[in-house]
């Protein structure tokens, strides 16, 4: 069953692991914003740049690229694009893939 805002009428989120398929959220651990690269030369950064790397996050309201780990399954990390205004997963993808550009392109 799908509700008016496109969410399934479930009590937990169902997340599409790229390796195992659809599983309930408690099998997963959230890993925060995706695609944050550790600076190649940390010693050359200003204090503000290092602060931004450590602490600043986009905290996006809308489609958000983020890491998840299927801890109680295959144990592998993957990325997801999730709309933080609905918690609807728009896509999940492997770590070596770039994020899908168009938020409307659902993987489901």
């Amino acid at each position: 069953m799908v509700t008016a805002d496109g969410l399934r009428d479930e009590h937990v989120l169902l997340i599409q692991c790229p390796y195992c398929g659809e599983r309930p959220e408690p099998e997963f651990v959230y890993g925060g914003q995706a695609h944050i690269a550790r600076p190649q030369q940390p010693a050359e950064l200003t204090d503000q740049q290092w602060t931004d790397y450590l602490y600043r996050r986009d905290n996006t309201r809308g489609p958000h690229a983020e890491r998840w780990r299927h801890t109680h399954g295959c144990g592998r990390f993957f990325n997801a694009l999730r709309d933080t205004t609905t918690d609807h997963f728009l896509a999940t993808y492997r770590l070596d893939e770039s994020p899908p550009r168009a938020p409307g392109e659902s993987a489901k």
């Binding site: 009590h11 931004d52 450590l54 600043r56 996050r57 309201r61 999730r82 933080t84």
Partner: protein, 429 residues
């Protein structure tokens, strides 16, 4: 620093509450009450604008008008007064934080809570029934006792109870026959609860009486800046409004609002869940919190058990969350208080909380002149409402922090002066 001075209310539209006035209205069928605050159209300009009509924002507007005598102040609220986290929290008030900076900030709030009903001429139902924080392991005991000693050194009341003393203070508590037995508890007797809606309504009514315009259903869509970068005003769904000073008190949406001025914050917004049971007769005398098995519970004056669950794992703006988070809290409550096992839950909900890396708030000036922010309260903003509002108003009025909020800057993350309250914040996140 106690705010027990009664302010005079020049606006005759406000009817002061007294036992006599309640009796008179009661005998005349409750007719003749007037609106608690006006619903004015926004003016073109104000001396100061507060974005966010929760307890923190309304309180800041009240103190700007009452203590700093700012000529014209407006509170802009995208929904309705107290409809955000002010109406969604579990109403717990305490000041037993670890570090001196935090103890000063949260205890400033407790001292203001103690006189708030008198100050506002509005019963916020502040009840110092005691907050009991349980320890279930050797590590818990060490951390709790450290908190007790640190609090006492900082002049904040906190005491250590044996399991038997904890049970005597809270008779429903099961201290032995559970997987994680209660090994002791820290008790702050000055802690307790307040009626959360009344805090928003009381501040709104008192601020309105001092001339503050409270403008509901008015979402801010942009922050306008002068050529020199300073704040010139805001764009809203009800038209542009100019102001030299803008204070942002937008809780979970602080990142979204501050990005309108190009200011990036070290915040992440998570759903924090809570739920209430069906109402029952008075059975629960205090507030009990358990960090380790994660539950916190008190009983409202209506009789509902008010239960706090945890944050969801992921960032979100949905004001809901996974049922397994609430279930987990209920399992802990049923273990600690077996007599509640047959209670039914009435409703559950989520609020969006803005969490900082060190679990301490930011109450500060920003890189944009004239723009101030009060955010990052994470899971514990309600308890601080009067204190945060009071020092935020000071910061806005004087363009410099009050000594109490001086450590809570935006720059502390760059300069390494973190105030790490992850253990005291109680909610696991």
């Amino acid at each position: 620093m106690r705010a027990d001075v009664r302010h005079s209310f020049p606006d005759l539209t406000m009817q002061p509450f007294s036992a006599l006035s309640l009796l008179k209205r009661g005998l005349s069928g409750q007719r003749g009450w007037t609106a608690q605050w006006r619903s004015p159209e926004p003016k073109n300009a104000y001396d100061a604008i507060i974005i966010g009509g929760g307890g923190h924002g309304l309180g800041a507007a009240y103190y700007l008008a009452s203590e700093h005598r700012l000529g014209s102040v407006a509170v802009l609220e995208k929904g309705w007064i107290g409809g955000g986290n002010t109406g969604r929290n579990t109403t717990i008030i305490r000041s037993n934080y670890l570090f001196d900076e935090s103890a000063a900030l949260y205890d400033h709030a407790v001292r203001l809570w103690e006189g708030l009903s008198q100050t506002l001429n509005y019963n916020v139902m502040f009840s110092q029934r005691g907050v009991l924080m349980l320890a279930h392991s050797v590590h818990d005991m060490q951390v709790s006792k450290r908190h007790v000693h640190a609090n006492r050194a900082a002049g904040v009341d906190n005491e250590w109870l044996t399991p038997e003393e904890a049970q005597a203070f809270c008779p429903p508590l099961n201290i032995g026959d559970i997987r994680y037995p209660v090994l002791g508890a820290a008790l702050q007797r000055r802690g307790g609860t307040a009626r959360h809606d009344a805090v928003a309504w009381g501040y709104a009514r008192a601020a309105d009486a001092l001339g503050v315009d409270i403008i509901e259903n008015c979402a801010v869509t942009g922050i306008v800046r002068n050529a020199d970068g300073s704040v010139a005003g805001v764009q809203t769904t009800r038209g542009p409004i100019s102001a030299r000073r803008v204070g942002v008190s937008a809780a979970g949406h602080s990142s979204v609002v501050m990005k309108m001025a190009g200011v990036e914050l070290p915040l992440e917004s998570y759903p924090l869940q809570a739920l209430v049971s069906e109402p029952v007769k008075p059975v629960f005398p205090c507030v009990v919190m358990s960090n380790t098995i994660h539950a916190y519970i008190s009983q409202s004056d209506k009789g509902e058990l008010v239960i706090g669950a945890g944050t969801d794992a992921y960032t979100s703006y949905t004001q809901r969350g996974g049922l397994h988070i609430s279930s987990h809290a209920l399992e802990a409550v049923c273990e600690l208080f077996p007599m509640f096992r047959r209670l039914r839950m009435l409703r559950n909900w989520g609020g969006i909380v803005d969490v900082t890396p060190d679990r301490s708030p930011i109450i500060a000036r920003t890189p944009v002149p004239g723009l101030y922010v009060n955010c990052g309260w994470g899971t514990g903003g309600f308890k601080a409402t009067p204190g945060a509002a009071h020092v935020f108003a000071w910061t806005i009025a004087r363009d410099e922090p009050h000594p109490i909020n001086a450590p809570f800057t935006l720059e502390r993350f760059r300069d390494g002066n973190l105030i790490d309250e992850a253990a005291a914040a109680a909610v696991a996140h």
